[in-house]
């Protein structure tokens, strides 16, 4: 069971985690990504753009791959788009499995693949009025390659 949601609205990590507490689960693991402030150049907001249709389809592919690979009972991805301020939540990845190792590894797999394969683009808006598209990082490709 893969729960996928791409939404402008916020989510409650506790509620998302509890959705994964299903029969047979020995535990749930999760990752919550938030907008990081940049002290050197203070950030006003981070705006996420996505590709409606393809974004959901790509996330579903990644989630189904995780379920198969780690024998998950369930997993969940909630990803926001639109304009977010520092400290606000961007993404939730969660996994439920019979044992902890599969759940923990599945969450790392989900976020590593999301970073490099789900069509989202971040634009930073700084307090000084400048804007900048975030560049893809080679470290993210390296992180994905370990899977």
């Amino acid at each position: 069971m893969a729960l996928i949601r791409v939404t402008a609205g916020d989510f409650d990590p506790g509620v998302e985690l509890e959705r994964l507490n299903i029969a047979g689960a020995g535990g749930m693991a999760s990752f919550v990504g938030v907008v990081r402030d940049t002290p050197a150049q203070p950030l006003a907001a981070l705006t996420l753009e996505h590709y409606p249709g393809m974004t959901e389809a790509q996330i579903l592919k990644i989630a189904e791959a995780a379920e198969l690979r780690f024998s998950l009972l369930a997993c969940s991805v909630v990803h926001r788009y639109g304009r977010l301020r520092p400290g606000q939540r961007i993404v939730f990845c969660g996994a439920a499995a019979a044992h902890r190792q599969a759940a923990l590894e599945a969450v790392a797999f989900l976020i590593d693949w999301l970073k490099t394969s789900a069509p989202f683009w971040k634009q930073e808006s700084f307090l000084n009025g400048e804007t900048r598209w975030v560049m893809a990082r080679a470290e993210d490709d390296t992180a994905r390659a370990r899977w």
Binding site: E49, L114, K115, P119, W121, W133
Partner: protein, 86 residues
């Protein structure tokens, strides 16, 4: 005849000045790479968007595609920078 639906995201959208357009399959265009070359030669805005093809990623009908992928009339072709979600 069915046209190509072309979508642009992030800075490709900003540079072309549009989020989508519809074009008849141009003569001599059969692959994604051909379409990029044709778009680049079209006007200054498209030339600016495709100035560095290495930084452009492509999806055809909402699946990632390579420059040598063949196109058919009616396809949805999206151009965007490397993704930065998560």
């Amino acid at each position: 005849m069915a046209k190509l639906r072309i979508l642009y995201f992030a800075w490709l959208r900003e540079r072309t000045g549009k989020s989508e357009e519809s074009v008849a399959m141009p003569d001599g265009v059969s692959t994604v790479g051909d379409l990029m070359a044709w778009l680049r030669a079209r006007d200054a805005a498209h030339a600016a968007a495709f100035v560095n093809p290495r930084l452009v990623r492509v999806a055809v009908n909402q699946s990632f595609a390579d420059p040598d992928q063949m196109l058919s009339p009616g396809d949805e072709v999206a151009f965007f920078p490397p993704v930065t979600g998560g």
